[in-house]
């Protein structure tokens, strides 16, 4: 232990600590809400890949999503359940991130003049800005495909398949989506491993290596799977 001959500190021993009030509880909130997003991304990607089954299959899938569970659920019932869950996860994820970022800033107010990064990956160091980028993208994405249904070609917007193909025929639209998938891939690369670590699932060197590999696989499969659709439209593999 350090035995620094020190001035009497004015800091004291804290009493009555609670596990639920700790930084680790905030980290657990981030991990669990992140895994909710991960689960949703897999379902969303599955739906997107239906585009390769053709116009009718894709539109039928989109339509069936709205009638899922009928007549037990009302029209769009499942979608609204998913939306509420995602919104709760978003609030939890962003709120914990903000509190933790604030704590980290306060933990080092005097900066180093020289500081080297030895072990950390680029994706781990860009989690906060990357998260913000993904948030801005999601707002844009919802305006584009869900709320606004903007067709940059000026065509009809009530046909999901044609709306998709029209959108990604525009090169800058594809660029926006590809950049967003890069940010998402980086966020997932570190986030998946970090969630495993926060949940206490990586207590051995082997499980730690596995979690890091899973991070890579999740990032490549999800970001790659999503990127496949706009790329296929751009290269004319998917057409109207």
């Amino acid at each position: 232990m350090t035995c620094v001959a020190t001035q009497l500190s004015n800091r004291t021993l804290v009493k009555g600590s609670r596990s639920t009030r700790s930084t680790i509880a905030l980290k657990l909130t981030m991990a669990i809400s992140g895994l909710v997003f991960l689960g949703y991304l897999i379902l969303h990607m599955y739906g997107n890949l239906k585009v390769f089954a053709g116009h009718d299959a894709f539109n039928e899938y989109a339509h069936h999503l709205r009638e899922f569970g009928a007549p037990m659920l009302p029209y769009e019932g499942l979608l609204w359940i998913v939306r509420v869950v995602l919104l709760v996860a978003l609030v939890a994820h962003v709120w914990s991130a903000l509190v933790l970022t604030g704590r980290a800033r306060k933990a080092r107010t005097a900066k180093y003049t020289v500081k080297k990064n030895i072990a950390s990956s680029l994706s781990s160091r860009t989690m906060r800005w990357g998260g913000l980028a993904i948030f801005i993208f999601v707002v844009w994405h919802l305006l584009h495909f869900t709320i606004g249904k903007v067709n940059p070609d000026g065509g009809p917007t009530n046909d999901p398949y044609n709306l998709l193909v029209d959108s990604f025929d525009v090169w800058w639209m594809t660029v926006i989506y590809l950049l967003a998938m890069l940010a998402l891939g980086m966020h997932l690369h570190h986030g998946t491993w970090s969630a495993a670590q926060t949940l206490g699932l990586t207590n051995t060197a082997k499980s730690r290596a596995t979690a890091k590999r899973v991070g890579w696989v999740v990032a490549i499969v999800i970001a790659g799977g999503f990127a496949l659709v706009p790329l296929s439209v751009l290269f004319g593999i998917v057409t109207k």
Binding site: C3, V14, S17, S19, R103, K116
Partner: protein
Amino acid sequence: MNLTLKIWRQKDASSAGAIETYQVQDISPDMSFLEMLDTLNEQLNEAGQDPVAFDSDCREGICGTCALMINGQAHGPEVTTTCQLHMRSFSDGDTITIEPWRADPFPVLKDLVVDRSAFDRIIQSGGFISANTGSAPEANSVPAPRDKAMRAFNAATCIGCGACVAACPNGSASLFLGAKITHLGELPQGQPERDSRVVAMVGQHDHEGFGGCTNIGECTAACPKEIPMDVISQLNKDLRTAMKHGL
């Protein structure tokens, strides 16, 4: 070797500090980093200037007292403590920037000396086992499985130097915490206080103003004892278990 040193100078805890530049000549590559600083201080003493204050004690890599940020790396470019770092790790003509550990829970007392008693308070809050006083109990009366004993021992090599905090962009002491939690939590003697220990120590860690962990791994790369990241996972798991038990 001739070197240019850029060193953080700060009169006391309440004064503002600044980087100052010094030259040292004829440094032997076989000198330790601290001996090189001793040479500088002899030079400063002769010139009637205030010598550079820095911490050191055992100078054999086991006490964790020496703590310098050297060219942006805690304990410098090698995986060891500053006292065991030798000048052969540098080249003639190098410029070396030397700063104190930077974390608000580790306030600078003077020059390169920081107050690390926050770590002492974290230990005080729960980093112990309760045992009856008197004659020492028979060591082998409580069996410990070999793999757990080895993991506990490896975690116990943490010397509390604070390099993990210094290297962490969040100023988190999670590696230190994790090492202590794993060290005591893997052994039978650590079980009765396992839940209360992790809650109290994490509570004290947060109270001291250390940041949260983002699992980026700068801590373990800077650790002179190469404590692995899995102790942080263990820490998280133990806290989650305590949470489940309602603490």
